[in-house]
């Protein structure tokens, strides 16, 4: 069983929701990525999404664009992201790491080389924003063969046919983009999310994580009440940006604690929390 599956099964057994933070690798500086990842785990992360910086992050809002630019300026690269995961894995055998990024750096490395290197480094899943399932059948096959979960997005605009395409290609979990827009936007429609999640879960048969637009304990709690996992990205990058020098790791840790507490206060749908 994959690390991602193991995590979701354990959480489900405990009636808890997964907390999936996102950080851009190499931001605010490459040396801080590993301490930040450890702080995320300490703060209650169940899975870590690690952003692979790209020069043209078409699906990202200003916050994550800035983070990618800063990371690239400091020489971050896909190879260095994999080195970081390897270092993280040396001290943590349980927490799944999902790489999130764009197709071109992966294609530049070569799909075969990438999946082999990622698997060897201890990566668990890969979400390529600009790879819809129909354009990456070779990648999906190679990833699965190497023990990596290919993770796909669904959106408010997705049709049932899209659910089926994603169900056939994806594993690990589904990332439901909770709004039309880019990362960091603020237009979260919780009722819409609540209506869609059961449909997706039924059609796809995988846990559903919701992301884009979740910014605080309150929105996390409300999304967590309907989804299997809550993904928080831009808000964590903002915490890092706003932290006084030397305090980014502590700020992120404290923020994670607040979200974890909100998620753990959700009553399981099946009964009263014991």
């Amino acid at each position: 069983m994959s690390r991602i599956q193991t995590v979701f099964q354990r959480l489900q057994a405990d009636g808890r929701k997964a907390l999936i933070p996102f950080v851009t690798a190499g931001f605010p500086e490459p040396a801080l990525t590993l301490p930040l990842m450890r702080a995320l785990v300490d703060g209650g992360a169940d899975v870590i999404e690690l952003g692979v910086p790209f020069s043209d992050p078409m699906a990202d809002g200003p916050t994550i664009q800035r983070a990618s630019e800063r990371a690239l300026e400091q020489g971050m690269s896909l190879r260095k992201v994999l080195d970081t995961v390897r270092a993280f894995r040396a001290g943590n055998a349980e927490t799944p790491v999902v790489l999130m990024g764009y197709a071109n750096p992966i294609e530049a490395m070569g799909v075969g080389n990438f999946v082999a290197a990622a698997s060897e480094a201890g990566v668990d899943g890969v979400l390529v924003v600009d790879y819809p399932p129909e354009e990456c059948t070779g990648f999906t096959r190679a990833a699965k063969a190497a023990g990596l979960d290919p993770i796909f997005l669904l959106a408010p605009t997705s049709t049932e046919q899209r659910f089926a395409d994603v169900a056939a290609a994806g594993s690990g979990y589904i990332y439901y983009v909770s709004l039309k827009g880019v990362t960091g936007s603020g237009r979260l429609d919780i009722d819409e999310v609540a209506r869609r999640i059961p449909q997706i879960r039924a059609a796809v048969g995988l846990p559903v994580g919701v992301g884009f637009g979740i910014r605080d304990a309150e929105s996390a709690r409300r999304i967590g009440a309907v989804a299997d996992a809550v993904v928080i990205g831009s808000r964590i990058i903002e915490e890092i940006e706003q932290a006084p020098a030397g305090e980014a790791v502590a700020r992120v840790h404290a923020f994670m604690r607040s979200i974890r507490a909100a998620l753990d206060a959700i009553e399981p749908a099946t009964g009263v929390k014991s």
Partner: protein, 408 residues
Amino acid sequence: MEFDKQMADMPYQFPDASGHFGPHGGVFVAETLMPALAELREAYAACQADPTFMAEFEYELKHYVGRPSPIYHAKRWSETLGGAQIYLKREDLNHTGAHKVNNCIGQALLARRMGKQRVIAETGAGQHGVATATIAARYGMECVVYMGSEDVKRQAANVYRMKLLGATVVPVESGSKTLKDALNEAMRDWVTNVADTFYIIGTVAGPHPYPLLVRDFQTVIGKECLVQMPEMAGRQPDYVIACVGGGSNAIGIFHPYIGAEGVRLVGVEAAGDGLETGRHAAPLTTDAPVGVLHGNRTYLMQDEDGQIIETHSISAGLDYPGVGPEHAWLKDSKRAEYVAATDAEALQAFHDLCRYEGIIPALESSHALAYAAKLAPTLPRDQILLVNLSGRGDKDMHTVAERSGIQF
């Protein structure tokens, strides 16, 4: 009309149903846009099958743009060069001054059919932005144009033109602050406002069906040439030459000639400071690695880590790290050849056309002229080069003057 029959029989069938030109093209976008692109494919298919759509498009091209654009025999320049005869397809005479408007009208009509009241566009030099703003004014649509903040500074006159036409111009501060970043930002707008917004892409790039529909709207250029060349010169040309940024003016004139054996198709990229300096915008000529950007797979200027690198060209309209996927395929299949002209060569051709023919060409088009000027003297006088003069140079006055050390 033997020729037309040959055209009709041609086996060239690209893109395939899923938008691929061999290994190139495709639909590489985030999930949110997949349904919008499916909707666009369906709407476009319906329009293609609807004679009233094509009739409206043709009416606009005739009465608003001023088509057909003439072909002009540049006799004095050809004489000076002392070889093949150079003919110019005069897209510079179109309303708004370039070929871009053909495509804008097609897409705006499509937007209207789809009930979208807001159009957005990316622009580099500002030509596509001006053409989009023009058509939006013509049809009473809201128009937002994304433009890299570096380009906003360099192209102040076009920014003002767009504003006069009622468009909102949004400077883009991310990345290299040029065309590719404007495209990223337009995509972000589209993802966010996909329900009521139509994205008018300015070249034959982007996710399927854009490379297909932009091509179709631009092939009016080559179709006119098929009829005009026999009238002008008694036959079809030996070479068809066009500059390649994203590749829309080139595909517009090449496509109707693809099935015409014996007609060589030559795309001219921007060699900037020189191919050997690395400061250029010539992914095809330099055999750049194939990758994924802006929704399609194609040759892309990138570093070893797959990050897109900054390009350099005197002409903002050619300053793009990728190229439309159909050109990638025409290169692979060897049906077209790709070469490059430097800034200096393009400027020389720019000045020559001004002096010998009384035509001020766009700097983009000057790259095609530069290659024609190089090729013509190597060929006999009875050979014919047809060059797509994709736009006029009014917008480039500032750039050219600056290069000559002149301040207005």
